[in-house]
Symmetry: C2
């Protein structure tokens, strides 16, 4: 089995093996604290549990994809709202301000560039380093 | 709603809206013929239906992520085999030969670079152009 190195830490990402996506949520012990489960090209695939809200923020040069597996996620944009049900995903383009809100706990998959800070232009108590997300 | 242009065709990819992943399979009318459902950064998210097998191939400079939603996918590598169940994914690193085999119909999500040819280094009757995959 090959284990290429992450560009951010000496933590190998699994390749050529089955990754059970829901089982990876066992690593998620805090809300709003994503864990990297795979890397494909320059993108990380992450899992996270959300409840409550994250402040309005944006990612200057990077798109972000949210994919809901359980629960519901409300993505507020400045001019409209997207309500995501399980099995639905949504791309937030680079530079676009968004406000994630979850009235109930929501389990999501995130796809974002390896360099993306998940709290975007903000540093908040929710901000987790890439090293924490890889752990 | 913003609709940025694909680098490959004058076909906008949806952003800032809900994409029902399973519903996107309605666009898939042929086996082994992926359809692009989203773009995040330089990666396409695609859906495809597989049955039977694709010849051994590789992608010289690009990783590929397979995620099984329904059915089962057997990914044969030269030195081992990965059997993917629903809810499991697997990263095939760049340059690694692989042989996808499905004894039963399998519905997958693929994540690969916008420039990736889904049949890799081969041109086969299964090969579909990016334009076909965007349609």
């Amino acid at each position: 089995m090959r284990l290429p190195m992450s560009p951010y830490a000496e933590i190998p990402r699994p390749v050529e093996q089955a990754i059970d996506v829901l089982a990876q949520f066992a690593r998620v012990t805090e809300l709003w604290s994503p864990k990297v489960i795979a890397q494909v090209n320059d993108q990380y695939v992450k899992v996270a549990r959300l409840l409550g809200e994250m402040p309005w923020h944006h990612h200057a040069g990077e798109d972000e994809l949210f994919w809901v597996l359980r629960g519901r996620l409300r993505l507020e944009f400045r001019d409209h709202v997207v309500e995501l049900e399980p099995g639905e995903c949504c791309v937030v383009p680079r530079g676009v301000e968004h406000h994630p809100v979850c009235a109930e706990e929501c389990w999501i998959v995130l796809i974002e560039t390896v360099t993306t800070r998940h709290t975007g232009n903000l540093t908040t108590p929710q901000t987790r380093s890439i090293e924490e997300q890889l752990s």
